[in-house]
Symmetry: C2
């Protein structure tokens, strides 16, 4: 059982932005490098988080990425729920589709279980992810070169 | 968020065996075909379920696959917990590893959420998955040829 790489990258982004200092310039490239994520993946996550109203990308001098008030208040459950969606947890509609799909009791049980998973994360705020001991690690992330990928 | 294909196949197998009639001969090939799963995947699931004591594979005349008493009583949570394991839900230890992994608060929150997911499935028994309306569909599964794969 795994989250998608997209959710993983998005949450790393949100956690780093949660500890940004006033006036700190964080670009998509900077956070991608800090979080050991390819630039293109991070750019997609930034776009989606902006679309969800959680991140603002300010242009120009003194611009950069910052968490919105909503991004600071939102629960991790709300983010994960939005990004992971409500599709099936098994290959019910795969190719070939599962012959049980029309009357399957497992399908509903898995969805209920996922609801319990999301509900557990509803109690976790973005702000709390940036508490100690995470805060120090987040603040000290370095901009070191990452595997040669360049824009 | 998805279960592995292995868990999916294993649960399909268990559900079909839960409605087997006394004396019904179900081979690995038969259930693979019925459940639209490649034979090799089903053979691995049968081996693992036997190892876990949930399925018995009787050899010889009148042999075939059947659910053990334990397999009938076990919760879906116990099966999923065993098959999905306790690894990370994100790529914490990927290549490159996540720079936050040593102090990450999300990592623990995700594990707790998975525990809630498993706990929800702990309340679901294999027997209950074979209740109506699933039972009829399970009983009526046909042995139709599946995409040409042969042993």
């Amino acid at each position: 059982m795994r989250l998608t790489a997209f959710t993983d990258v998005s949450l790393r982004l949100i956690m780093r932005l949660a500890v940004a200092r006033e006036g700190e310039l964080l670009t998509t490239r900077t956070v991608a490098t800090m979080l050991a994520v390819p630039y293109t993946h991070m750019a997609k996550a930034v776009a989606r988080m902006a679309e969800m109203g959680l991140v603002e990308a300010r242009r120009g001098r003194g611009g950069g990425l910052l968490l919105t008030d909503e991004g600071r208040r939102v629960s991790v459950g709300a983010i994960v729920r939005e990004l992971e969606g409500s599709g099936d947890l098994a290959s019910c509609e795969g190719d070939p589709p599962c012959p049980l799909r029309s009357a399957c009791r497992l399908r509903g049980a898995l969805r209920e279980a996922r609801e319990a998973f999301y509900a557990s994360l509803d109690a976790v705020t973005v702000a709390s992810l940036a508490d100690a001991p995470a805060r120090e690690t987040l603040v000290l992330l370095q901009e070191s070169p990452f595997d040669g990928e360049q824009e």
